[in-house]
C-alpha cells in the first residue's frame, strides 16, 4: 500500500494501462509535454512519446470523435476533456454516436472509449470551470458514468473503464485532486463498474453521494456521530450509470430514511432518479420523506468567494441536512 492523492492514482492507472496494452493512447488539450492543466498526464509523454500521448487541436467534439473512430478499430483511447464545462460541444458525438453505436448496429460495432474530465466547483472557477454535467449524460442508455471519490476507487475504476467495451464517462472531482489522499495497493487491481460502495455503515438513515460530495458526506457523518449520536450510513455511488438499485434499496431497507447529496443543482439532478427508485421500489421501507440536498437552481457556480460558498454544499451544511432528516 502507498498513500497517494486522487490525481496520482488517476495518473498511475493510466500509466499502468499504457504499459499493459499497446492499444491504449491518450489525447486531449495540453496532455502532452505540459502533462495536462491539472497534471493528470504528467510524465506520460516523456515515457510513451508523441504517438501515444497526443496533444489535440482545441476542439472537443473531435477529441471525442477521434476516440470513437479509434475505438471502432479496437484501440483503447482515453480522451481528456480539460474541464467538464467544455464537454458540451461533444454532446452530439457522445449522445448520438458513442452511446448508440452498439444498439444501432445490432451489436456489430462497440465503442471501448474512456472520456475523462474534471468537474465540480468550490475552486474559484466561476460559471465555466465548475460545472457538474453528469445529469445530462445519466439519461442516456449505452453510456456508463463513473465518479470516484477516493484514490483507491479512482485507480481501480479507471482501469476497469479502459478495459470496458463500452463508452465510459469518468468524471473526476477536481477539488479533491490533491485534497483527497488515501491508500492504494501496489499491485494491479480493478474495481467493477456498477456496484456502489458502503463507505460508512450506519443504522439511522442513508446518505447517497458521489465524487467530492461523497468525501464531504463522510466528514458530515463523522460530525453528526460525534456531536449528535446520529449513526448515518454513507453510500458512495461511484457508478451513476448503470444505477446500482440493489445497493440503494438495501441500505434504505435497513435505515428507513434517505438523503441524497449532490453539488449539481437540484432540479432534474441525479438525486431525482434515486428518489424515484425509492418511491417505486422502496416505498414500504421508508419512515420519512426522501430528501435531496443539492446546489441552488442557478445557471452556474458564481465566482466571488461568498457567493461561491453560498452555492456549494459543504460538510457543515450536509451535517445540518442529516440532522433535519434524522429528527423527522
Amino acid at each position: 500500500m502507498t498513500v497517494m492523492t486522487l490525481i496520482d492514482a488517476i495518473r498511475e492507472a493510466m500509466d499502468e494501462e499504457l504499459e499493459r496494452d499497446p492499444r491504449v493512447f491518450i489525447t486531449g488539450e495540453d496532455v502532452g509535454e505540459r502533462g495536462g492543466v491539472f497534471r493528470a498526464t504528467q510524465g506520460l509523454h516523456e515515457k510513451y512519446g508523441d504517438t501515444r500521448i497526443v496533444d489535440s487541436p482545441l476542439a472537443e467534439l473531435s477529441i471525442v470523435a477521434i476516440g470513437i473512430g479509434a475505438a471502432l478499430t479496437d484501440l483503447r483511447p482515453i480522451c481528456e476533456i480539460q474541464f467538464a464545462d467544455f464537454i458540451h460541444p461533444a454532446f452530439n458525438q457522445i449522445v448520438n454516436e458513442a452511446a448508440r453505436f452498439y444498439y444501432r448496429s445490432n451489436g456489430q460495432w462497440h465503442v471501448p472509449l474512456v472520456i475523462r474530465s474534471p468537474y465540480g466547483g468550490g475552486i474559484g472557477g466561476g460559471l465555466y470551470h465548475s460545472q457538474s454535467v453528469e445529469a445530462f449524460f445519466a439519461h442516456v442508455p449505452g453510456l456508463k458514468i463513473v465518479v470516484p471519490s477516493t484514490p483507491y476507487d479512482a485507480k481501480g475504476l479507471l482501469k476497469s473503464a479502459v478495459r470496458d467495451p463500452n463508452p465510459v464517462l469518468f468524471f473526476e472531482p477536481k477539488k479533491g485532486y490533491r485534497a483527497i489522499k488515501g491508500e492504494v495497493p501496489d499491485d494491479d487491481y480493478t474495481i467493477p463498474i456498477g456496484p456502489a460502495r458502503i463507505a460508512r455503515e450506519g443504522r439511522d438513515l442513508s446518505v447517497f453521494a458521489y465524487g467530492m460530495m461523497a468525501h464531504y458526506t463522510m466528514m458530515a457523518a463523522e460530525k453528526v456521530a460525534r456531536e449528535d449520536g446520529i449513526d448515518a450510513e454513507v453510500i458512495d455511488l461511484r457508478t451513476l450509470l448503470p444505477i446500482d438499485k440493489a445497493a440503494i434499496l438495501a441500505s434504505v431497507k435497513k435505515t428507513g430514511k434517505a438523503l441524497i447529496v449532490h453539488e449539481d443543482n437540484l432540479t432534474m439532478g441525479y438525486g431525482a432518479e434515486i428518489a424515484a427508485v425509492l418511491s417505486d421500489e422502496g416505498f414500504e421501507y421508508l419512515d420519512g420523506p426522501v430528501k435531496r440536498y443539492a446546489a441552488p437552481d442557478v445557471p452556474g457556480v458564481p465566482f466571488s468567494h461568498p457567493m461561491q460558498e453560498y452555492f456549494m454544499p459543504n460538510p457543515d451544511k450536509i451535517a445540518d441536512a442529516i440532522r433535519d432528516l434524522a429528527a423527522y
Partner: protein, 347 residues
C-alpha cells in the same frame, strides 16, 4: 486539378472491371427505382435515394480496397454499398425493417448502412458526424502502423478510410474538425463530398461563400480535387490518386464530386417548390449511367444485346430481393430492448 488523360489510372481497368462498374451502377438504379415504386404502393414507409450519384460512388468504390479499407458512408451511398458487397436483399430487408436486417437489426431507418464484416461503419442520421470519426479511424490506422501492430504493406488490413457526405453537410463543425485532424496528422483519409447543389431545398450559394467545396482543402492542409461526379472514370482517376497518397503515407485528400440528384431529397420531399423542372430535365440528360453506357458502347465493351442482358439480370436481382425480404419474418417486439451495452467479454 488532377490527372491528364495520358496518365489516367482508369486506362488500366480491365474490360471485366469496367463491366462490373456498369453493373453496380445499373443494379443500384433499378433497386432504387423499385424502392420509390414500393413507397408509392405503400409497401414501405420511407426511401432516400442515390439516383444520379451512381458514378461518383462506383468510381470511388473501385479505387479502394473494397471490403477491407474502412468506409464511413452516408445515406445516399446505395451504389457504393452494393459495389462493396451489401446485397439487394440486405437493402430490401432494411426498407421493410425485417428481422436481422444487416445494418442494424432493423433498428435504424433504411440507408443507414453498416457491415462489420465489410468494414462499413454504422452511420447515424445527424449529418457529418462520420467525418471526425473517420479521421479517428485513419488516426488508428496510422497508430497501428507506427506501433508495429500492423504492417503498412499488408493488403489484407485496412490502410485507409473513405468517408462521404453532401455539400450542405460541410457547413457542420463536425466536418471542419474532422478535416482539421486529417490535415494536422497527415492521415490516410479520403473525404468525398457529393455535391448535388442542394441540401434538401437550400442551394449551395446559401450554404457557402466559396465557389467549390474543394477550395476549402487549403485551409486544412489537405489536397483538394474537383471532379465531374457523373463521369465514373474521371472519379476513378482522382480517387486512385487519393488512394495512392493515403497508402504511401502522403496524407489526406478532399474530393469534391459534382453531381445532381435527379429525384426529390427523399420519399417525403416534393422538389417542385425549390427547383425548376427544366433544371432537373437538363441534369437527366447528363445521367451518369447513360453516359457510361455510351463510352462502353463506343469501346465495344458493351453491345445492345449485352445491355438487354444486364437489364434483365438487374430486374431479376431486384425481384428476387423483394420476394426474399417480403417473405422474411418481422423482428420479435422484444428485440427493441437488446444491445444497450456490449458484454464485458466483448473486449
Amino acid at each position: 486539378m488532377v490527372t491528364t488523360t495520358t496518365a489516367r489510372a482508369s486506362a488500366r481497368l480491365s474490360e471485366e472491371q469496367l463491366l462490373q462498374m456498369y453493373w453496380y451502377m445499373l443494379l443500384s438504379r433499378r433497386l432504387d427505382e423499385r424502392a420509390w415504386a414500393m413507397h408509392r404502393q405503400s409497401k414501405i414507409a420511407f426511401h432516400i435515394s442515390g439516383m444520379g450519384h451512381e458514378a461518383a460512388q462506383v468510381g470511388a468504390a473501385f479505387a479502394i480496397n473494397r471490403g477491407v479499407d474502412y468506409v464511413h458512408p452516408y445515406y445516399r451511398d446505395l451504389a457504393l454499398m452494393l459495389a462493396i458487397g451489401i446485397t439487394p436483399t440486405d437493402f430490401m430487408m432494411s426498407l421493410y425493417g425485417k428481422k436481422d436486417e444487416l445494418s442494424s437489426g432493423a433498428r435504424q431507418m433504411p440507408s443507414h448502412f453498416s457491415s462489420k464484416a465489410l468494414n462499413i461503419v454504422s452511420s447515424s442520421s445527424p449529418v457529418a458526424t462520420q467525418v471526425p470519426q473517420a479521421a479517428g479511424i485513419a488516426f488508428a490506422i496510422k497508430y497501428r502502423q507506427q506501433m508495429g501492430l500492423q504492417d503498412p504493406n499488408d493488403e489484407t488490413q485496412p490502410r485507409l478510410v473513405f468517408t462521404t457526405l453532401g455539400e450542405g453537410s460541410t457547413s457542420q463543425g463536425e466536418w471542419h474538425e474532422g478535416m482539421n485532424w486529417a490535415g494536422v496528422h497527415d492521415l490516410p483519409f479520403i473525404c468525398m463530398v457529393q455535391n448535388n447543389l442542394y441540401a434538401i431545398s437550400v442551394p449551395i450559394e446559401e450554404q457557402m461563400a466559396v465557389a467549390h467545396v474543394a477550395d476549402r482543402a487549403d485551409a486544412y492542409g489537405v489536397r483538394g480535387v474537383m471532379v465531374d461526379g457523373n463521369d465514373v472514370l474521371a472519379v476513378y482517376d482522382v480517387m486512385a490518386e487519393a488512394v495512392e497518397r493515403a497508402y504511401n503515407g502522403d496524407g489526406a485528400t478532399l474530393v469534391e464530386a459534382k453531381t445532381y440528384r435527379i429525384v426529390p431529397h427523399s420519399s417525403d420531399d416534393d422538389d417542385r417548390s425549390y427547383r425548376s423542372r427544366e433544371e432537373v430535365e437538363e441534369w437527366k440528360k447528363k445521367d451518369p449511367i447513360l453516359r457510361f453506357q455510351k463510352v462502353l458502347l463506343e469501346e465495344t465493351i458493351l453491345s445492345d444485346t449485352l445491355i438487354d442482358d444486364y437489364e434483365s439480370r438487374a430486374r431479376d436481382a431486384v425481384n428476387k430481393a423483394q420476394v426474399e425480404a417480403e417473405a422474411a419474418p418481422w423482428p420479435a417486439p422484444e428485440e427493441a430492448i437488446g444491445d444497450v451495452y456490449a458484454p464485458l467479454e466483448a473486449i
